[in-house]
Symmetry: C2
Subunit: 325 residues, 2 copies
C-alpha cells in the first residue's frame, strides 16, 4: 500500500530554520509537497533544486486575515508555523509582536479548528519562555513554571497554552517545541543578545575579528541546526496519544561553556582563527545571558524518540564545510 | 493631608464575589466610589444601602468594544475584572469562553496601556489553572507549572501571562490572584463539580436533603468568602515593587477533607442537619475533584501581607448567621 504524499505548509520559510526544514523534509520523504510562505517570496534552497516541481513559494502577510484565509483553504497535512517577530523586535514594537506572534497564530488555530478539525500543527517555541534562573546550574524542563521576561517569550508561551487547550479538545493536533539557542547560524550578526554565540565561530572562520561580550566560563544551552531541524521533522510523526496532558517539548541540545565553543573553533579552524575573538565584556549582554537557563532536562524529548545533539566539534565542522569557502 | 477617594470599577459585579467585594471595599474606606457593571444591572447589596450615592450600577456587555470603550473612558483608580464565563460554560461554549475570558480582558488591558498607562488592575484567577496532581498530598504554588485541563483554566492562565508582561513593561499595574474553591456560596446548586462543597452546608442548614457525590476522606482546597474578599481588597494596596518578576499570587485558603466540612456542619447545625447529607458517590465528579490540588503553599501571599483564612467552623457559623432564617 503506498502512502499518500504529504502536503506541508511552512510559514516564515525564508528564515534560517525554515530553509533548512525544507531540505530536511524532502530528505526524509522525497515525495513531500511543500508550500513555503514568508512576507517576501522565500527562496527555494539550492540543495532542493531538483524538487522544484513539488515546492511552491509565495509571499503572504499572515496578519491579513483575508490572505491567511486564502492560504489556509489549501488544506495542508501539516502546518509548520515558523513565522514570527524575533525577541528584540517584539520588545521594541509591542503591537507588532502581539499581532504576529500571538494574533496571527491564534487566527490560524481558529481557522483550523473550524475548517479542518484535528489538523496537525508544529509550533516552534523557545528557551525564551523561561524566566531568569537563580543559579547557573539550575535544571529546567517542561514542568518548570516559565516566568518570561520578554514579550517574545510571553507570546510564545501563550500560544503553547492555546495549543494545549485546543489539542486537549481535539480541535487541532498541536506540537510545541522549545528550541535551544541554535549555533552556528550563518549570515550577519544580529541584535540578539545571543548573537555572539554564532558570531565567534562564523566571523572567526571567515577571518574577521569579532567580539566576545561575556566571560568565557559562562554556560549556555545550545543546539545544532542539523538536529533541531531533524527533530522538527520527527515531531510531526509522533502519535498524538504519546504526548499526555500537554503538547510542549523542550528539544534536545547541550550545555556548553563559551570556552568550549572557543576550543571547538580552535580544533576546526586553528589558533589563528581562535585569536580573532577579542574578549570585551559587556555587562548588559552578560547579565541577559547569565539569566537564561543553561541546563535542560530533555528526557521527555528522548522518550518521544527525539535525536540527541551532535558534538560541538561536529557542529563547528559542519558549519565550516557548508559555509566557509 | 486628606487622601483622594478612589473610584473603583468592578465588572461582573452581580456575582457572589462582586457583591461581597462592594461591601468590603466600602467597609475598608467609606469614601470609596464604586461603579458596578454586569451583563444585566447588578443589584446594590443591601448592606451598603447607605452609600447608594457613591455607587453606580450599570448593564454593559464588555465583548462590545464600543460599550467597553465608553465605560473605560471613566478613568478609574482600580479595575477589578470579575466578569467571566464559569468553567462549565467555557467548556460547553468554546467561542463564548474565549471571547469573554480572554478577548474582553485583553481588550481592557490594551485600552488601559494605551489610554491610562500604569492603571491598577486586579484579576481573579483560579485554582483551575492547575492541572491534575499525581498524588492528593502534592503541594502546589505559583512556581508550579500549570497544565490546565479546561478552557476556563487556560483562559485564566493566558491572561495571567499577559498581565505579567504588561506589568513588567509598566503598561499596567496588574495583580492576578488565584482563588480557592469558595465555601459557603449562597444560592442554588450549580453544575460545577465543586457545587456539593457549598451544597452540603447550605442545603442541610436549610433543612433540605442533599447529595454528597464523593468519598468523605477526599481533601479540597477551600477558602471563606470573607477572607477571599478581604484579600481582594488588600491586594490593590500592595506596592507593585513587592511582587518581583511576576504578578500572580495564590490566595490563602485551607486544606479540608469533606469529612471536616460535615463535622463543622454538625457543630453548627446539629446531628439532624448533618443527617440530611446522603452519600451517593458519583465516580465522574469524584475523579474531577480528586484531580484538583488540595494543598497550596501560600507563603507568597503571606509575605505580601495577606490574611490567613478563618476556621471551618467559623465559615459555617458565618454562613448560618447571614443566610439561614
Amino acid at each position: 500500500m503506498s502512502k499518500k504524499s504529504e502536503h506541508i505548509l511552512i510559514t516564515g520559510a525564508g528564515g534560517f530554520i525554515g530553509q533548512a526544514l525544507v531540505s530536511a523534509l524532502l530528505q526524509s520523504d522525497s515525495s513531500t509537497n511543500i508550500t513555503m510562505t514568508d512576507v517576501s517570496v522565500p527562496p527555494i534552497p539550492s540543495q532542493v533544486e531538483n524538487y522544484k516541481s513539488q515546492i511552491t513559494a509565495t509571499a503572504i502577510d499572515l496578519t491579513n486575515s483575508e490572505d491567511a484565509n486564502k492560504l489556509l483553504a489549501g488544506k495542508f497535512d501539516v502546518y509548520y508555523l515558523l513565522h514570527g517577530i524575533m525577541s528584540s523586535g517584539s520588545e521594541a514594537n509591542l503591537e507588532l509582536g502581539y499581532r504576529v506572534n500571538l494574533d496571527s497564530h491564534r487566527f490560524i488555530l481558529d481557522y483550523l479548528r473550524e475548517h479542518q478539525q484535528g489538523a496537525k500543527v508544529v509550533f516552534p517555541s523557545s528557551l525564551a519562555v523561561f524566566g531568569p534562573v537563580s543559579r547557573q546550574d539550575e535544571v529546567v524542563s517542561e514542568t518548570t513554571m516559565p516566568f518570561p521576561q520578554s514579550s517574545y517569550g510571553t507570546q510564545k508561551f501563550m500560544i503553547e497554552c492555546l495549543i494545549n487547550d485546543y489539542s486537549r479538545r481535539g480541535l487541532v493536533d498541536g506540537r510545541s517545541v522549545r528550541l535551544p539557542t541554535v549555533i552556528v547560524r550563518p549570515g550577519k550578526p544580529t541584535a540578539a543578545a545571543s548573537s555572539f554565540a554564532s558570531g565567534i565561530v562564523r566571523e572567526s572562520l571567515a577571518g574577521v575579528r569579532n567580539t566576545l561580550p561575556v566571560r568565557s566560563d559562562l554556560d549556555m544551552w545550545v543546539g545544532s541546526p542539523d538536529i533541531v531541524v531533524q527533530n522538527l521533522v520527527l515531531v510531526k510523526n509522533i502519535p498524538k496519544e504519546r504526548f499526555g496532558i500537554h503538547r510542549t517539548v523542550c528539544l534536545p541540545g547541550q550545555t556548553v561553556s563559551v570556552q568550549q565553543i572557543l576550543e571547538a573553533l580552535e580544533r576546526v579552524g586553528g589558533k589563528e582563527k581562535r585569536n580573532l575573538v577579542i574578549e570585551e565584556r559587556d555587562p548588559v549582554i552578560e547579565k541577559i545571558v547569565e539569566s537564561w537557563p543553561s541546563r535542560l532536562d530533555t528526557n521527555r524529548a528522548f522518550t518521544l524518540g527525539m535525536h540527541k545533539d551532535i558534538s560541538l566539534t561536529e557542529i563547528v565542522q559542519n558549519f565550516a564545510e557548508r559555509h566557509v569557502k
